[in-house]
């Protein structure tokens, strides 16, 4: 049980780190930025799972709702505005 | 030493003797110079003639108050210097008005006449006068320095500033003279003496060739007469100081006449031997040669 949990946690952590790396590296904007945003949302999502493992259901809920939900939406709102501006060809 | 009324006629007597001696001495030395140059020279009473002539001149002009006062300052400086210094050692009669102050008074009073002269010449508005003053003042700052050092050395040596005391310390034989007890100081002082006598090589101030006679350019008639009087008194008064400090003073008038004459001759000899310095040259000369002597004498005193 314990080992299984630990292994699962390890995997989760690796997945988080991978997503994080995707979120912060890479150049360019536009499409690549939305990938980064999604990746960071994914990090939050994994984090909320991790919080469950860490016996913190309250935190998990919050992280899921705010960290991966609302934040990601905020990003996309702004990104869409900015991207639209770029299409205007200013 | 206190003031007594009798000192006034005595002082006037000294003054009278010195004026006459100075007049004759000046002419005599001119004559010697001429004879050396195989000329006839002026008669021995020439200075009296000049004096009378100048006082007698009817036309006289003035450029202003200071111009008028310049010669007065000048002559006051000469007479004052003479009277602040005892002339004959040991003689109550010819100790003059030296009760008023000591050596320092004499040293600083020299400038009184210089200042008055410079101011009077300044008001004449003649550029040559100003140039002469500029040169004279520049030179005197360097020339006075060795004298000041020597005087101080002597004061240190005898631990007094009183001229009478200094002379009395030199009594008792030639070898007691400062000349022999403190030769460095005397050497420095004599170099300074050369610089203050307005003779070659330090006569750029009067510079007869380029700036006709320098500061007194504009002076004439009775002004000039006063200055001539001073020219008779001042060198003698100055030599009296030197004599008292370095050459044992004079206990009687004959000794006085002789010593003054001989000391005067030093500057004459040097004058015929050397060409004229420019101002900056003479300043450097004093600083390089005379000042170190003075410093040395102080350090050794």
């Amino acid at each position: 049980m314990n080992i299984l949990m630990t292994a699962m946690t390890g995997l989760l952590c690796l997945a988080m780190l991978g997503s994080a790396w995707v979120a912060v590296t890479g150049k360019g904007s536009g499409q690549r930025v939305s990938i980064a945003i999604l990746a960071s949302g994914l990090v939050s999502l994994f984090a909320s799972v991790l919080f469950l493992i860490l016996a913190a259901p309250d935190v998990a809920m919050t992280e899921a709702a705010i960290g991966s939900g609302l934040t990601t939406f905020l990003f996309f709102f702004v990104l869409s505005r900015v991207r639209a501006g770029r299409q205007d060809g200013s | 030493m206190q003031f007594e009324w009798i000192k006034i006629p005595y002082a006037l007597l000294t003054l009278f003797i010195v004026v006459n001696y100075g007049m004759l001495l000046g002419a005599f030395i001119q004559k010697i110079g001429a004879r050396v140059g195989r000329r006839r020279g002026v008669p021995i009473w020439q200075n009296y003639a000049d004096l009378v002539k100048n006082f007698g001149l009817r036309t006289s002009i003035t450029h202003g108050v200071m111009f008028y006062l310049g010669p007065v300052f000048r002559l006051t400086g000469g007479i004052g210097l003479l009277l602040f210094v005892p002339t004959i050692y040991g003689s109550e009669m010819f100790s003059n008005l030296s009760f008023a102050g000591d050596l320092i008074l004499a040293l600083y009073f020299v400038f009184f006449g210089t200042l008055g002269m410079a101011l009077g010449a300044g008001e004449s508005g003649h550029p040559h006068a100003a140039i002469g003053i500029s040169r004279g003042l520049s030179q005197v700052t360097a020339a006075e320095l060795p004298l000041a050092l020597a005087v101080f050395s002597v004061a240190l040596q005898y631990q007094t500033l009183s001229i009478t005391d200094i002379v009395s310390a030199q009594q008792g034989g030639v070898l007691h003279w400062t000349l022999f007890t403190n030769p460095l100081a005397v050497a420095a002082a004599m170099l300074s003496f050369l610089g203050s006598m307005m003779r070659p090589p330090f006569d750029v101030v009067l510079a007869p060739q380029e700036i006709p006679i320098g500061p007194p350019t504009e002076y004439h008639s009775s002004y000039l007469a006063l200055m001539q009087t001073n020219r008779a008194i001042f060198p003698v008064a100055k030599i009296v100081v030197y004599m008292n400090l370095f050459f044992g003073g004079a206990a009687s008038w004959p000794v006085f006449f002789l010593k003054v004459f001989l000391i005067y001759m030093v500057s004459v000899f040097v004058g015929v031997a050397f060409p004229r310095f420019r101002v900056e040259q003479s300043i450097r000369w004093f600083l390089v040669w005379a000042v170190p002597l003075g410093i040395l004498s102080i350090l050794l005193a």
Binding site: N2, M5, T6, T9, G10, C13, M16, L17, A20, W21, A23, V24, T25, S29, V33, A36, I37, S40, V43, S44, A47, L50, F51, I53, L54, A55, A56, P57, D58, V59, T62, E63, I66, G67, L70, T71, L74, F75, F77, V78, L79, R81, V82, G85, S90 | -
Partner: protein
């Protein structure tokens, strides 16, 4: 073990996030990087309070009041993290609004272009 693993992950997330924030020139991507780092901080905080073999700090039938002290984990870090998450959101929203305005003004999101004030 889980705690250490999580803390390590949190730290790495912070470092990765800061790395992104330091090298990305695009302002939006900087903000994304900061959210990653924030997540890392939250994980560290919760993990520090974690105690293996205990339950969440909620009392119910399974965890009676009497032996709560022996059964639950430290609730305080969780409370702190809630606060931290919300504050993180506030900051992110603010930065995003800034990003939008900066873009509106200059038509670029390149941080190197906003260096007018210096020295």
């Amino acid at each position: 073990m889980i705690a250490q693993l999580s803390i390590a992950t949190g730290f790495l997330l912070i470092l990765i996030g800061l790395y992104g924030a330091l090298i990305q020139r695009n302002i939006l991507r900087m903000i994304v990087a900061f959210t990653v780092a924030d997540t890392g901080v939250n994980i560290v905080i919760v993990a520090v309070g974690f105690m293996a073999g205990r339950t969440a700090p909620i009392l119910d039938a399974a965890v009676p009041v009497a032996d709560a002290a022996a059964r639950i984990i430290d609730p305080l870090p969780q409370a702190l993290v809630l606060t931290a998450i919300v504050i993180g959101l506030g900051t992110t929203a603010l930065m995003l609004a800034y990003a939008f305005k900066l873009y509106e003004k200059r038509r670029t999101l390149d941080i190197d272009k906003f260096t007018d004030l210096r020295g």
